[in-house]
């Protein structure tokens, strides 16, 4: 049994957190510019000493869908690119998760969620596994903390990383 180090914080990465890296670099490539590691990916790597990262099949599906549909990748390329990102950031993929549909139902009945519900699915998985949910979704950040308090933005993540580094 692999024990998660107690002193590390366990973070669930929302799809929008990783997606920006591919979007930026695909645009850079089209313009003939040099590829760049986003600040976010660099921060995640800097945080490896303090955090364990997790994703779910739902994140993998969302990222691979966009790699194929938006970036014109073939199945094996999308698979490889996903695997190399996961390896580089030492991300663990939760295999056997379930989705608490009643939790999502309570949210949409209580607050006005205007966007699609895929990020609420991620939130449900993070909540069930007691993971800190790192997301760039402004609706989740502003409206869902009353349903699950452990939600942070990238800005919060950087602040947390900075605080841990100074200790």
């Amino acid at each position: 049994m692999l024990q998660v180090k107690r002193d590390k914080i366990n973070i669930y990465l929302d799809a929008n957190i990783i997606y920006g890296f591919f979007k930026l670099n695909s645009q850079k490539l089209k313009k003939g510019e040099e590829l760049k590691e986003t600040k976010l990916i660099k921060s995640l790597r800097d945080g490896l000493k303090y955090f364990n990262y997790f994703v779910s099949k739902a994140v993998e599906i969302e990222i691979k869908r966009r790699l194929v549909s938006e970036f014109n990748l073939r199945r094996n390329e999308a698979n490889y690119l996903w695997n190399i990102l996961v390896t580089n950031l030492k991300i663990a993929e939760v295999e056997d998760h379930t989705i608490d549909w009643n939790f999502i139902l309570t949210i949409v009945e209580s607050v006005k969620i205007k966007k699609r519900i895929s990020n609420l699915i991620h939130l449900s998985i993070a909540r069930d596994n007691h993971l800190l949910f790192l997301t760039g979704d402004l609706e989740i950040l502003s409206k869902c903390k009353e349903f699950y308090k452990d939600i942070i933005s990238y800005k919060d993540f950087v602040k947390l990383l900075y605080t841990l580094k100074r200790k």
Partner: protein, 52 residues
């Protein structure tokens, strides 16, 4: 340049009281290798898109 070989394994992890099954990477990939591979794959897809 060929692909970097990546290996994965499945492990049980204990998160608080909960035990979950996760897929974890067993290989190591440096940042340079990672960026090179991202460029290689995205470049291929861009070339393919331009050919169509």
């Amino acid at each position: 340049m060929g692909k970097i070989k990546l290996k994965f394994g499945k492990k049980k992890m204990k998160l608080g009281e909960r035990e979950i099954l996760v897929r974890v990477p067993l290989s190591k990939v440096s940042n340079e290798e990672f960026m090179k591979e991202v460029e290689r794959i995205l470049r291929k897809s861009l070339e393919r898109a331009q050919q169509v």
